[in-house]
Symmetry: C2
Subunit: 476 residues, 2 copies
């Protein structure tokens, strides 16, 4: 017999639907049992205070779903072949009985993103998003939408053709890459590019060389394939290339502005590396994440510009030059490698955001993005000078070379300094800085701080350094 427990949930949606949901819940809870007859629709309508037609609509819905059956002249029944459900409290998904397996390492670089607005980020990878040309962005989107509904449909997993062509033209002009659109895969930011490169090149057990002082999120992407990473030494000129171990499948490196030290790999090492890679079939994953921000002379041409052997995968991003939120990166590689990455992309992510890609192509094509790059380069160069002066004044024991490019100073500290403890004290005073240990492959303590100058205007940079000095370790 039907107990008057049926309730109608408050909420949006048609009343009949909510009545049906209530009845189905009773069945799932086991309060209405298989084979049980329901009260007549008139009685149900009365007990619920609704019109009988509403109840009939609810019952028809449940019948269509297979919860109820109606026997003409006899009434409406819960179907017989439902599994016998013991009355049980209906619990929202809580503790999962299907936990995952071992997780990839947490990437601490994102931790600061959840901190409050009063925090001063003295962080190396962070551009000044307040300078992004938001109005130009909106205009470009509107123009992209006017191109017709094609930009809203399914598309090429390598990215929209117009953007690949614009990027190829930009990279030919600014980085000397002898490429066209078929050498380009557009991704969401650099991270997906690195992950796709890893999936296309590596399988479990492969050995990949990485800079012993380097970029942890890239290591996570490479290791996610099951490859084994081995650290390669880094000195004051960047990656040391004259003692590469045998048997490497790939080397991941940041030759332009070494991450985190910002030094530029000298020409001799570049050529030696290309020769080694071509002779031994080693893939070089060249991460050129902030090529555009070079202040002394002109940027050095990338490894990919001199790659006669088809061994270089060149990764870049517009996150640094425009805004991380745009999520636009790219990989340049020989077309067979691009095809392999596109195949993986289809499985992982299907395709990019054709509308956003079309809009960015507009910004490249009409010169808006190049203008923005030039403007930001001047701003960042000025900020570099301000930070250099502030550090020289307030932290005289910090040893650094003024970087020719990039967005950060790499400050070596006296060996007795506990940089991690200092960074923690700084965070408590509202300044986010990165200690050397987070860039070391071993994770060991490292007496160094990386101080970014791009995200903050001059006065804030000076305030941040003052706060940092106020909690500096006692020295001498």
């Amino acid at each position: 017999m039907f107990r008057p427990l049926l309730t109608v949930e408050e909420g949006p949606g048609p009343l009949a639907g909510r009545i049906g949901q209530g009845l189905a819940l009773e069945i799932r809870r086991g309060r209405l049992r298989p084979g049980e007859r329901l009260p007549g629709s008139r009685r149900l309508a009365e007990s619920l205070g609704v019109h009988r037609n509403t109840v009939l609509a609810a019952l028809r819905g449940l019948e269509a779903e297979g919860w109820l059956r109606t026997e003409p002249g006899r009434g409406t029944f819960v179907v017989d072949d439902l599994p016998d459900v013991a009355p049980a409290p209906f619990a929202p998904p809580g503790a999962a009985v299907v936990p995952g397996y071992a997780l990839p390492p947490a990437l601490p670089d994102l931790a600061w993103s959840s901190t409050g607005p009063t925090l001063l980020p003295l962080l190396g990878g962070l551009p000044d998003v307040s300078a992004a040309p938001a109005d130009a962005l909106v205009r470009a989107w509107r123009r992209a939408l006017r191109r017709g509904p094609g930009v809203l449909g399914y598309g090429d997993p390598r990215g929209v053709r117009a953007l690949r062509e614009e990027l190829a033209a930009m990279l030919r002009a600014l980085r000397g890459l002898p490429i066209d659109a078929d050498h380009v895969l557009v991704t969401r930011g650099a991270q997906l590019g690195l992950y796709l490169a890893a999936r296309a090149l590596l399988r479990p057990g492969d050995v990949v060389g990485v800079e012993a002082l380097g970029y942890r999120p890239a290591w996570a992407a490479l290791a996610a394939t099951g490859a084994r990473l081995v650290p390669l030494p880094v000195d004051a000129d960047g990656l040391v290339v004259d003692a590469l171990p045998a048997g490497l499948r790939a080397i991941y490196l940041t030759p332009h502005h070494q991450y985190p030290t910002t030094v530029t790999l000298p020409a001799a090492r570049r050529l030696a590396l290309l020769q080694h890679a071509t002779a031994h079939g080693v893939a070089l994953i060249e991460d050129d994440y902030d090529h555009e921000f070079h202040y002394e002379g002109r940027p050095v041409l990338p490894l990919a510009s001199a790659d006669a052997g088809g061994v270089v995968l060149h990764c870049g991003t517009l996150s640094k030059v425009f805004a991380p939120g745009l999520r636009l990166g790219y990989v340049v590689a020989p077309p067979p490698v691009i095809e392999a990455m596109a195949r993986w992309r289809t499985v992982i992510d299907r395709q990019g955001d054709a509308l956003g890609e079309t809009a960015i192509a507009e910004l490249l094509g009409d010169g808006e993005l190049p203008r923005h790059i030039r403007r930001m380069r001047r701003i960042y160069q000025e900020r570099r000078g301000i930070l250099v002066e502030a550090v020289r004044r307030a932290l005289p024991f910090a040893d650094f070379t003024v970087p020719a490019g990039g967005m950060a100073l790499w400050c070596r500290l006296p060996p007795e300094v506990d940089a991690d403890a200092w960074a923690a004290r700084a965070l408590a005073r509202g300044v986010a800085v990165q200690a050397g240990s987070r860039f070391l492959f071993s994770g060991e303590p490292c007496p160094a701080l990386r101080l970014g100058f791009a995200a903050l205007p001059g006065p804030k940079l000076e305030e941040a350094v003052a706060r940092l000095a106020a909690c500096a370790p006692p020295l001498g």
Copy 2:
């Protein structure tokens, strides 16, 4: 001695930079050898027809990069420690010496996207993007940008909080899911959600059950983890659940509108599946890709709405209700599973597009998206009727049930029909349809066609069916 081979590339960028590039190219080509002395800057300037200061700037740049060294009073030399480069043609990246390993299977479902505008897509997964509210989209983006530069920075890998809250509210109201924002991970379309679910749940050698007649891109995402897939039988009511093999780690299924047959899994099977999964610790990956498009009665509540054991991962997308180009999907799961997926997401893709996510949250919050869903439901319901009538008239041998929901008719054909050959003939006549074989796990021939009705207005639907009938196989 310096040969007069140095050329200055035409192109953008400062002249000094282009001269420097030309010199570096000569060194890389081996035409300028290690230790070789360059002509004086005056002579270089004369031979190039440029001002001497321009040449000096180029030489200073090359010196900073480590290509050249200047000895006061003696001249400028190519550095000695460059590796000896044999003169060789500088080749653009061509055939890669680092081909990838085995690729994931090509997904044929994307093939039609490259076809021309005259093609009539009678395809099941394709919404009508021409109806997407483009103006509302642009307005929402502009509002999102006005929220401040935070939307352009780095953010939460689970998606922006505002969107997760809006999605949770929508899914509570429309799908009966007892969830809040912490149960939601926002992804790029459904494919990334499936891939992340697979990475969080599976490791090589795990066994995953899939519908023997089902969705191939999901299989590719699951198999990319190294898991082994086993097909589970599907009958006229959907997945058969009373003979599940032991030892499954997960089951991937489409219970709401079974893909490709569009039938709704009956309540009894749903409850039995939940009981089995909870008892044996099997994860259920529930793909509810077009829940909103249900025309008869109300949509059946998903498995996730009755999941007391925390075994269901519920995947959805706004690609079908809005536009595939938006790339917005989501996964609902117990928070520990969401955390695991977010960890993987950080490695693969770092985060979503915070700006786009904020804009979609606006569209959900102001009722624009619900209005659009109601409007499209009416349109698709009408198109369903038009296609049903056209097929009854023109293809009387096609056996189908009018689907209660979804975006396609599943037409069973007489066993002697070669559906693949028919689909190929149709494509030659400008109609894209999918033959049964592409949905079969075995890939064997399958006498069925899936005909989508969502993408085309009525007259085009009728024209497409007429073309299909004109190349129908001879029967009887």
